[in-house]
């Protein structure tokens, strides 16, 4: 991981266009997103298809 330079980092939610050809492709993408935000100290617990995005949560 890089050395943190900020006191706090944003919490992230990622909603993506779900047009993956296979479950394996989707899993690789999600794992990559989780790992990348971990690398930069952001909390990212939600990585979901855009169809699961709820306006009520906003």
């Amino acid at each position: 991981m890089h050395i943190p330079r900020y006191e706090k980092y944003p919490e992230i939610e990622v909603y993506y266009q779900d047009d993956f050809a296979s479950i394996e492709d989707k899993k690789i993408y999600e794992d990559y997103i989780y790992r990348t935000f971990y690398q930069f100290y952001s909390k990212c617990e939600i990585v979901k298809p855009i169809t699961q995005f709820s306006l009520e949560e906003v």
Partner: protein, 215 residues
């Protein structure tokens, strides 16, 4: 077997990836042709790939992923019409642990199958930052391994598993090794020497922990 090597580094001939390629083909009797993703038209390269049986892409790791120019090139590729085509990858990274490249490796494996190529594997070598700045003798072992890899590939069309394993070591650092490296870092004896030189040469030594998003 006709093989094309792709240099996927945005630095083209001026970085570690080029050194990896030169040492790899150094072990061959008939060195492969090389294309540069950073310098040539990606549609032309993608079309040109069709004339070859095997493609080997060399690239640096950029935060668990491939450089954007490699992604763009791959997006221009069409699935192989006939079987019998192969694709392999050689990834070098600044991270010491090869496990840091596993996210990319998983993607490359699936991608190759989706393109109807046979997957030759991904050779991973961590701890490669600053190789281009070091004297040749400091990397004698690595260069010998890369030449062995190239020599074996030319004869067999595969990556030699023993050499692949040697290059990929360490996969993950032990807790003890991490503590030792942290200790050496505090004494100024780690690879920070190379990073600090680079920062100094770019007048960025005092700005290493700047906060551009709030300053």
């Amino acid at each position: 077997m006709k093989t094309l090597i792709i240099n996927g580094s945005p630095k083209a001939q001026n970085g570690n990836t080029e050194i990896f390629i030169k040492k790899f083909i150094n072990g061959m009797k008939s060195p492969c042709e090389i294309c540069y993703a950073a310098k040539e038209d990606r549609l032309r390269i993608a079309n040109y790939m069709k004339e070859f049986d095997t493609i080997i892409v060399f690239m640096p790791l950029y935060v668990h992923a491939m450089p954007g120019i490699v992604m763009k090139l791959i997006e221009c590729m069409e699935p192989a019409v006939d079987g019998g085509k192969s694709m392999g990858f050689i990834v070098q990274s600044g991270f010491m642990e090869s496990a840091q490249s596993k996210y990319l490796e998983r993607y490359l494996s699936v991608l190759t199958k989706n393109l109807n190529y046979t997957y030759l594997g991904t050779v991973i070598r961590g701890g490669s930052a600053g190789i281009y700045m070091m004297p040749e003798k400091m990397n004698k072992r690595l260069f010998r391994q890369l030449s062995t890899l190239g020599e074996h590939f030319e004869i067999n069309g595969t990556f030699n598993i023993e050499t692949v394993e040697e290059l990929a070591s360490p996969n993950k650092l032990s807790k003890g090794k991490c503590n030792l490296l942290q200790f050496l870092g505090r004494l100024g004896l780690s690879d920070n020497i190379f990073w600090n030189t680079m920062l100094k040469n770019n007048n960025a030594r005092d700005r290493v922990l700047d906060k551009p998003f709030i300053d």
